[in-house]
Subunit: 270 residues, 2 copies
């Protein structure tokens, strides 16, 4: 048993899709979330900048006495996990390995699609994990730089010609290549699940990297007998930009009200 | 005569549209440019965060001995000009007042449209300047949050259904209201000039805020006898993210090669 909170961070709001899954699986856990809303997005930035920002995010979270840190961000998981794991004495977990495992398990045709930010695709991290687990896999990957701004602007509904056009443009090569499994390698993308699923068709399995990451956390904490023992955990949210803007949007991602539980952090100081 | 360089800054690349106009008008001037590519975009952030970032940008530029600072950013001009002008002993010039003057001069129907980032529209700054110069003006304003990510992803060409759909969505109320003048209140928007002009029609005058800002700088320096006296000035570029990514994109905005003249700055330290 370990009553300490789990730290979770992301470049902005996307990581809340992971928090939602964590809350569903482990309702007794306390969660401290940091969203770097003052510097979002990360996915279009250089490797060096992403690593610098991720280190600051972890330094802030470690001002709390945590039992583990979850990188609820595809970009940071692919670009800085090794570094963060090596530098910190508590477990640091990302979304890549669990998502790669789920994809390797799901595919029947061995043709796997992967979408993520520019930094994620550039890193080649998902490809390395999937190939190690499933050497025969053919992996088609595609950076989708417009997905994050479109999601953050609420453009994720079916029938919206803007998102439907962009989805078709990014995903048509994968559809033509007949992938049967598609890894949503960025924690913003679950909000596009409906549009992507409608385009790819019912025979393509979508792998939600953020949710797979949450399941891995649950498995690991249970295996280490490190779950909290309480009925209902509590959550605190920290952001680097306006608290009000975050609280409003977070309710969309989490489907519950977080007003009053959000505070601002000067992340440049960490 | 003043041989000192002019400092110019923006949240990212958009300000280069102002630099291009400055170079055309004042080829003898030295220019020091800072683009905050590690924290772009500004327009969706809170007023407090924009002001904090703008202060750091100016603090960095002031490590050079400058004769003036040009805010080549609609968002910072509308949100932090007063503050920056009060805090610095050298002239700090924005794009709002010159663009408002150009709009007041151009309109015949008194119906003026204004587009910009969320922060710019929220500030009400353009409306205040235009109303003061032209009390009878009816101003229709609209935040266009997707324009910056679309431009930064190269989606500014005619025939691209994504940008054309978004342009129609944002601008149809202005077209229906019969505005005859439209202020492009963000320095990214000149790259959309062709698409916007095709949609609004030939009778609508587009006001390029960044270019108007550059013209104002030229007029003021000339009036103060503070122009540099040399054939050909030089330019230096500083960014807060990767030098390579900037150099590649900057060539699109400036239509000239800047490789080798770009250096990186840790802007969080200022």
């Amino acid at each position: 048993m370990d009553q300490k909170p789990i730290g979770v961070f992301d470049s902005g709001l996307g990581g809340l899709t992971t928090v939602r899954e964590l809350m569903r699986l482990l309702p007794g856990e306390d969660i401290v979330y940091f969203g770097d809303t003052g510097r979002v997005p990360y996915g279009s930035r250089s490797k060096e900048t992403i690593r610098k920002y991720a280190r600051q995010d972890v330094a802030f979270l470690r001002t709390f006495d945590l039992k583990a840190i979850v990188i609820a961000c595809g970009t940071v998981s692919t670009t800085a996990l090794d570094l963060l794991a090596a530098e910190n004495p508590i477990p640091v977990m990302g979304v890549v390995e669990p998502a790669a495992r789920a994809a390797a398990r799901a595919t029947r045709s061995d043709a796997i699609g992967l979408i993520g930010t520019q930094a994620t695709i550039r890193s080649g991290a998902y490809e390395r994990y999937i190939s190690a687990l499933h050497p025969g896999a053919r992996i088609l990957s595609k950076a989708c730089p417009l997905f994050v701004p479109l999601v953050e602007n609420g453009r994720f509904h079916r029938g919206d010609i803007v998102i439907e056009t962009v989805v078709e443009e990014y995903l048509s090569p994968m559809k033509e290549a007949g992938v049967d499994t598609l890894v949503l390698g960025c924690t913003h993308y679950p909000l596009l699940e409906e549009v992507i699923s409608a385009y790819m068709g019912p025979d393509v399995t979508l792998i939600n990297a953020g949710a797979e990451g949450a399941r891995e956390v649950a498995r690991k904490l249970e295996a280490q007998d490190a779950l909290a023992q309480r009925e209902q955990g509590s959550s605190r949210y920290f952001v680097s930009d306006s608290v009000e803007d975050f609280a409003r949007l977070a309710s969309i991602f989490l489907r519950q009200d977080v007003t009053g539980e959000v505070a601002q952090v000067d992340i440049g100081q960490f």
